[in-house]
C-alpha cells in the first residue's frame, strides 16, 4: 500500500530514499556533525544516527540560526539527506540549499509536508511539484 501526500515544495526537486523520522526537535548547528552527517545533539533520541542518504522528516526545528551553514556544508561534503520533509515551514535549512544552488553545487528538494503516516524506514519518493509517495517496508 502506497500513501500519497501532496506537499508544498519549498525547493522543488526529485529524490527517493528511506525515511528517517526524528522523534525530538533538532538544531542542525550543534546537533548534526557537518562533515559526517551524524546526529550529535546531547540526549537526542536519534543521537549517533546518520542523516546522509535518508529522506529526513523533521517534526520540529529549534535553535541556532547557524543551521543553514551546516546544511550547506552537508551538501558540499556529499553527506546531506536526499530530501528534507518539514512539518512546518522554515527558512533556515532551505537557505543552505538555495546557496548551494547559487554556487552550482548539488541540491536536494525541501518540502513542507504532513508527516503523519510516515515512519522510519518507509520508502519515500519525492516528485517534482510536491508529490510525495510513501511505501511501507515489508
Amino acid at each position: 500500500m502506497a500513501l500519497s501526500i501532496v506537499a508544498n515544495p519549498l525547493i522543488d526537486g526529485v529524490a527517493d530514499g528511506p525515511a528517517m523520522v526524528l522523534s525530538a526537535p533538532i538544531s542542525f548547528w550543534g546537533g548534526v556533525n557537518p562533515t559526517s552527517g551524524l546526529i550529535v545533539q546531547a540526549a537526542h533520541p536519534e543521537r549517533g544516527q546518520c542523516i546522509a542518504g535518508r529522506v529526513l522528516c523533521l517534526p520540529e526545528l529549534i535553535g541556532s540560526s547557524s543551521s543553514s551553514a551546516v546544511m550547506l556544508e552537508l551538501l558540499h561534503a556529499g553527506m546531506a539527506p536526499r530530501a528534507l520533509l518539514l512539518a512546518s515551514r522554515d527558512a533556515i535549512l532551505p537557505l543552505g540549499v538555495i546557496v548551494a544552488e547559487e554556487m552550482g553545487w548539488p541540491t536536494i528538494p525541501v518540502l513542507e509536508c504532513d508527516l503523519v503516516g510516515i515512519v522510519n524506514g518507509d520508502g519515500v519518493t519525492v516528485s517534482a511539484g510536491g508529490g510525495v509517495t510513501v511505501e511501507r517496508a515489508g
Partner: protein
C-alpha cells in the same frame, strides 16, 4: 503570497555591473518567497552570524560574494569567528582549518562588516532603537534585539544575514510586522519564591524552560521583578533561543513592548496561560546537566553570550581571594576585555586562574585541552551546546556555585533557593 519588488530591486537581480549584489539579491528574494513575504522592508543595521567557520563551503560562498564586489549597504556588526585573533595560541585544531576560518573572517571585513566579533553586539554599542527594522543573525542576539530593545528582526541564518546587509532590505514577514509581535501565551512566574526570582541562575533556566515550552510562540512573562538586570534578560533570551526557536518574548513591566499585560497581548486573549512551578524550573535546571551527579570538574566556561563588563566585575567580586583549581575561561569581546585591562581587573582575574577568550568562545572552536571531561557553566547556552560541540559533559550553576566549584576543583552547589 506573491512577492512584489520595486523596479530598483528587480533591476538588482540581474545587474551585470554588480554581480555580488545580484547574487545576494537572488538569495534574498528566494528567502522572501519562502517566508511568504509580500515585499521587502528597508533595514538600518545588520548583525552577521556567517563569519563563524562551519566548513569550507561557507568560506567559498562568502569569498565569491566579496570577489564579485558585494559590499554591505548598512552598518553590519560581526558575530564570533572561530579564531581568537588577539590570543591565537589558544586555538587548537589543524592549521588548514584555522586558515579557512581566517579566510571567512577576512571575506566579511572585505565586504565592509565591522570587526566586532561578538555574540553580544548589543553590549558594545550596537543597539537598534524601539521599532527599528534590522536584520540580525545569532539566536541570542535576535532574541535580545527584539525583546529587550524592541527592534524588529526575524531569526536570520548564516548567508541570508550577509545577503540582507548587502541589499539593505529584509523580507517583510514574521517579527518585522507589528501584529506578529503580540504575545500569544502568558507565562506566570509570580508563584515562585522572591529569592529564586532574584537569583542570577534563575534567568538562564527560565529561558531554557521557555524555549522548550513555547518554541517559536511569543510569550509574555509576568512576575519578573521590575528591576531585573539586562544581563539576566540576555541570559533568558540565550537560553530560550537555544532550546526553542524563540525570537521574541515580553517581560511585563520590563521590556519596551510590554508596559502591561494587555499591551503585550495586543488586546487579544492568550491561547494559553502557563503557571510556572518550582518543580518545572528545577526540572529545566536539571536538564542542563549532562554530567549527572558527578563531582568531577575539569573546567569552567563563562560568557555565552559574551560576558559584559558588569558580569566580569561580578566574577571579580565573587572570587575575591580565591585561586581557581581548574581552568576558568571567560569569553568576551575585545572592547570589554580592553576596559577590564585598563581597570586592572583582567590582571586580577588572570592571577586567579582565568583565561580570557575574545572574538570567539570555547564552545564554537577547539580551545579546551581534552577530548572529554566535565565543564561547569552559568550559561544555559553553553550547557545546551557544550557536550555536542566539545565532548565535555556539562554542569549548570549560578555564578556563586561556579566560583565555589572552581576554587574547590569539584562541583559544589547550593540548592537552597531551588527548593
Amino acid at each position: 503570497m506573491v512577492l512584489h519588488l520595486t523596479d530598483t530591486e528587480r533591476g538588482w537581480l540581474s545587474d551585470q555591473s554588480q554581480p555580488g549584489r545580484a547574487m545576494a539579491m537572488r538569495i534574498a528574494v528566494k528567502a522572501a518567497d519562502l517566508m511568504g513575504a509580500s515585499e521587502l522592508v528597508p533595514i538600518s543595521h545588520s548583525h552577521i552570524d556567517g563569519c563563524l567557520y562551519h566548513g569550507d563551503s561557507g568560506v567559498l560562498f562568502c569569498e565569491r560574494l566579496a570577489e564579485q564586489g558585494a559590499r554591505v549597504s548598512v552598518p553590519a556588526s560581526l558575530n564570533v569567528g572561530a579564531l581568537d585573533l588577539v590570543h591565537p595560541e589558544l586555538i587548537g585544531g589543524n592549521a588548514a582549518r584555522r586558515a579557512m576560518a581566517r579566510r571567512l573572517m577576512d571575506a566579511h571585513t572585505a565586504m565592509g562588516c565591522l570587526p566586532t566579533w561578538t555574540c553580544a553586539p548589543y553590549q558594545v554599542g550596537h543597539r537598534p532603537a524601539l521599532g527599528e527594522q534590522v536584520a540580525w543573525g545569532e539566536s541570542n542576539a535576535v532574541a535580545f534585539a527584539n525583546s529587550v530593545l524592541g527592534a524588529r528582526t526575524n531569526r536570520y541564518g548564516d548567508f541570508l544575514d550577509i545577503c540582507l546587509a548587502i541589499v539593505g532590505r529584509a523580507p517583510l514577514s514574521g517579527l518585522h510586522v507589528a501584529d506578529n509581535r503580540c504575545a500569544r501565551v502568558v507565562v506566570d512566574v509570580s508563584g515562585l519564591s522572591e529569592a529564586l526570582r532574584r537569583t542570577d541562575a534563575f534567568y538562564p533556566v527560565l529561558g531554557a524552560w521557555l524555549g522548550r515550552a513555547v518554541g517559536a510562540t511569543v510569550a509574555a512573562i509576568v512576575g519578573v521583578p521590575a528591576d531585573v538586570g539586562e544581563d539576566d534578560l540576555k541570559a533568558l533570551g540565550a537560553g530560550a533561543a537555544s532550546t526553542g526557536a524563540v525570537g521574541l518574548f515580553h517581560v511585563v513591566g520590563v521590556t519596551p513592548e510590554a508596559p502591561d499585560l494587555v499591551t503585550a497581548l495586543g488586546d487579544t486573549e492568550p491561547v494559553e496561560t502557563i503557571v510556572v512551578t518550582a518543580e518545572m524550573i528545577r526540572a529545566a535546571r536539571d536538564a542542563l546537566d549532562t554530567a549527572s551527579g558527578s563531582a568531577q570538574l575539569d573546567c569552567l566556561a563563562f560568557g555565552s553570550p559574551h560576558f559584559s563588563h558588569a558580569e566580569a566585575k561580578a566574577l571579580e567580586t565573587a572570587s575575591a581571594g580565591m585561586i581557581f583549581a581548574v581552568p576558568v575561561y571567560v569569553c568576551t569581546n575585545r572592547e570589554t576585555l580592553g576596559r577590564l585591562e585598563d581597570e586592572g581587573v583582567a590582571e586580577i582575574l588572570r592571577g586567579r586562574g582565568v583565561t580570557f577568550v575574545v572574538d570567539t568562545c570555547v564552545v564554537v572552536t577547539p580551545i579546551l585541552k581534552q577530548q572529554a571531561g566535565v565543564m561547569m557553566t552559568n550559561s544555559a547556552k553553553f550547557a545546551h551546546y557544550g557536550e555536542g560541540n566539545t565532548g565535555y559533559a556539562t554542569v549548570f550553576g549560578g555564578l556563586a556555585d561556579c566560583v565555589a566549584s572552581a576554587a574547590a576543583g569539584r562541583v559544589v552547589r547550593d540548592d537552597s533557593r531551588w527548593r
